[in-house]
């Protein structure tokens, strides 16, 4: 199964399709996404803004999982790190949003590199548990220091008087901010694509197969592992900054440990081996609960449904939903080179 992933882990949906065909699906998805504001619903605009944001997070998780075989159960906590820095800088300096977003991303990339330190020595469940412990620590820490809301001092938190964070100059309204998030998500995809189709991608592929042989082939295993974590952390940090921009403030209670575990689970369910798996993960993570809530299904009943669906998906679809869709798509195209 692992070999399979390496072979088909690229962005192709179908190998014998023409060059144009591989861009077809992304372009369709992008057009659909950009037409969402035209629906004219404030609720679904908010929901899809969250979906766009968590797509970036899931992209970072699936990168680690697919390329390095590493599991992070701390990505929602990492989003919190990025969001904290973005908010802090915004309230302190009022620089353009992009600077703050980037700074939040870079800071989280550094945190990601710190998480990579244990990853140099362990993998699998142990590493996952280290990240889980980090997420657990973060959820308590942030409950104490809180997110900056325009107060004084280093933490920038005051019990009263929330000052709302400024949004990007180009995206003041909810509609514009949604488009802004989609654009950042596209850039995030481009960043990951560029990495996977260049030297780091080849190095990661070899490392995933065997670290010893990667090292024998002259690859700096430590560097590329750390780089993978930094990139993944960067994406989470950007997502956190966007979340802060979406709500214009953050609340410590948005970052419990369970959320970090859940988004990893959904990334696996969505399908880490295909490029659109991250989108499916984010849809499951934010759109599905919102749909159930809107249909009047109680949050508790939604839990039951969600948990059952999670177990079912993990038990029956080893390549995730994206894998099933890709398999179906390739069958429909009557391609000789079938994916499963």
């Amino acid at each position: 199964m692992k070999n399979y992933g390496e072979k088909y882990g690229h962005f192709e949906m179908n190998q014998i399709s023409g060059q144009w065909r591989r861009w077809l699906a992304p372009i369709i998805i992008l057009i659909v996404a950009l037409s969402i504001p035209a629906m004219g619903s404030a609720l679904w605009l908010k929901v899809f803004t969250s979906v766009a944001i968590y797509t970036i997070t899931a992209l970072g998780i699936s990168l680690l999982y697919r390329r390095l075989g590493q599991v992070s159960l701390a990505h929602v906590a990492l989003m919190g790190c990025g969001g904290w820095v973005t908010l802090r800088l915004s309230h302190a300096f009022h620089l353009p949003f992009e600077f703050q977003l980037f700074a939040g991303g870079v800071f989280t990339a550094i945190v990601g590199m710190v998480l990579a330190y244990p990853a140099l020595r362990m993998r699998g469940l142990y590493l996952a548990l280290v990240t889980l412990m980090a997420a657990g620590g973060f959820s308590i820490l942030i409950g104490i220091i809180q997110f900056p809301n325009g107060g004084d001092g280093f933490a920038g938190y005051a019990i009263t008087a929330i000052t709302h964070m400024e949004r990007p100059y180009l995206a003041q309204s909810d509609e514009a901010f949604f488009v802004y998030c989609i654009m950042i998500a596209v850039l995030a995809y481009a960043l990951v694509y560029a990495h996977e189709h260049a030297k780091p991608g080849r190095a990661w592929a070899l490392i995933r197969r065997s670290e010893a042989s990667a090292m024998a082939a002259g690859i700096n295993v430590t560097f590329y592992k750390v780089w993978g974590f930094a990139l993944s952390g960067f994406l989470a940090g950007i997502a956190g900054g966007l979340l802060a921009g979406s709500l214009q403030f953050l609340d410590a209670r948005s970052f419990p440990v369970g959320e970090s575990v859940m988004i990893f689970a959904l990334t696996v369910v969505g399908g880490a081996w295909h490029w659109f798996g991250a989108i499916i993960a984010a849809l499951l993570f934010r759109l599905m609960p919102a749909l159930l809530n809107d249909w009047g299904v109680s949050g508790d009943a939604a839990f039951i449904f969600f948990g059952a669906a999670l177990m079912h998906a993990l038990a029956t679809a080893p390549k995730g939903i994206a894998g099933q869709i890709a398999g179906l798509a390739s069958r429909l195209m009557k391609s000789g080179d079938r994916h499963d």
Partner: protein
């Protein structure tokens, strides 16, 4: 259980109506017994139902009241279409449902909301869109410091200071330790102003913040012992407070301190949850008057809950607050021309509410045009007795500097002098 309760409640309701019952018939709005059939008026509420605690009782009460209105002539013939959304204690969801109600559904106002997140997340939305939220249960500071949110409840600050004030006056408390959640806008907000109150009196106070998810109540109890206080103020949600008090009971600390609490423990399930050990020992602050009171509003509220709410919906302080919000809302919109009920006219009508008195509240309820609202700043104390509560103090104005801007507003409005 909740679902099962629905059926039994309607059965009980039907039974009571058939037999006539001993209870007074609910009265609301026009009270003409005619079903309202006009164009509906859209009203919303956001409650924290799914999450660490079910905080939806104020919304349930508002819903019951509106059902009663719709069965009794509506708002001059127009029924109220009430949409209650669950924010699941999640800020993202709160923003989603807030936008849904305000922008998509287009509610004229929010009535009976009860939440730990909605008021912080959506205060700006309400102000930007010019919609008022007449909330029920407000557990966070944002609820009392926003131009478009007003509630009949007093909140953790007023309740904590009220409890401390009573303990100083009646129990001779000199050093109070406030055991609370580490949520800054809820627990710490209340306790730190209680601390200021004590310091202004030349007395001592300290705060023990607790992580709500922590398994360890033992160290909190030991910290309480080490604090040197003579009085313990429990300012936490009921479940957490019950856990803390259980460990205190394990250490048999009942007689080492005087025990007071803020409103969350004024709940019908609390006497059974705490057990006999605390009977006659714990005194709880109530932001509104007793739920078993005999005044017209309290009686009518119970009657409306009996007829129009589910049996499982709690009858607590927050339910009372939801009832008051719904009642005052309807009284305000009844004055409007039924053809001209829109967000702008409703917001104006709500802002014009003033001088509403009720047997449920110590002082008058008012809204007014201000950047912050806190009409309810007087409350009572209830002592835990065998299987229930007993009122041990009359309405008392809460004495805290925090109220200075609110009192200035009241002076300006001519409510107080």
């Amino acid at each position: 259980m909740k679902k099962i309760a629905v059926y039994s409640a309607s059965l009980v309701g039907a039974f009571m109506m058939m037999t006539g019952g001993a209870m007074a018939a609910p009265s609301c709005g026009l009270s003409n017994g005619q079903k309202a059939n006009g164009e509906p008026i859209k009203v919303g509420a956001i409650v924290g139902q799914t999450g660490p605690d079910d905080f939806s009782s104020s919304g349930d009460a508002a819903q019951a009241f509106f059902k009663c209105i719709n069965a009794n002539g509506g708002v001059n013939g127009r029924p109220i279409e009430f949409t209650m959304e669950d924010d699941q204690w999640n800020p993202e969801v709160a923003a989603q449902v807030g936008n849904k109600l305000v922008k998509d559904v287009g509610v004229v106002a929010l009535v009976g909301s009860g939440s730990f997140v909605d008021m912080a997340v959506n205060a700006k939305l309400y102000a930007d869109e010019g919609v008022m939220s007449m909330a029920g249960a407000c557990a966070i500071s944002d609820c009392y410091e926003s131009s478009n949110i007003v509630t009949a409840a007093g909140g953790p600050l007023i309740s904590s200071v009220g409890a401390a004030q009573w303990a100083v006056a009646h129990q001779g408390a000199k050093n109070i330790v406030c055991v609370t959640t580490n949520i800054p806008t809820s627990g710490i907000y209340g306790c730190s102003w209680m601390q200021k109150f004590m310091e202004n009196k030349g007395l001592e106070a300290s705060i023990i913040p607790l992580d709500p998810a922590s398994a360890d109540m033992n160290s909190a109890v030991l910290e309480t012992i080490a604090s040197g206080a003579d009085t313990v103020l429990v300012n936490m949600p009921g479940g957490m407070a019950a856990a803390f008090l259980k460990v205190a009971e394990e250490q048999d600390l009942r007689d080492n301190f005087k025990w007071i609490s803020s409103t969350p423990l004024y709940d019908a399930d609390i006497p059974a949850a705490l057990g006999k050990y605390w009977t006659g020992v714990l005194t709880v602050n109530a932001e509104l008057n007793p739920i078993d009171g005999t005044g017209p509003d309290t009686t009518n509220w119970r009657a409306i809950m009996e007829t129009y709410a589910n049996e499982g919906d709690p009858r607590d302080t927050f339910s009372q607050a939801g009832y008051l919000a719904a009642k005052y809302f309807v009284e305000a919109v009844l004055k409007l021309d039924p053809a001209d009920i829109n967000r702008a006219s409703v917001t104006k009508a709500i802002q014009a509410i003033s001088g509403k008195t009720s047997d449920m509240m110590c002082g008058p309820y008012y809204v007014g045009l201000a950047d912050r609202h806190l009409p309810n700043h007087a409350n009572i104390m209830m002592q835990l007795v065998d299987g229930g509560f007993k009122q041990v103090s009359e309405c008392t104005q809460v004495d805290t500097e925090y109220l200075a801007p609110y009192l200035a507003i009241e002076k300006e409005m001519g409510i107080s002098n």
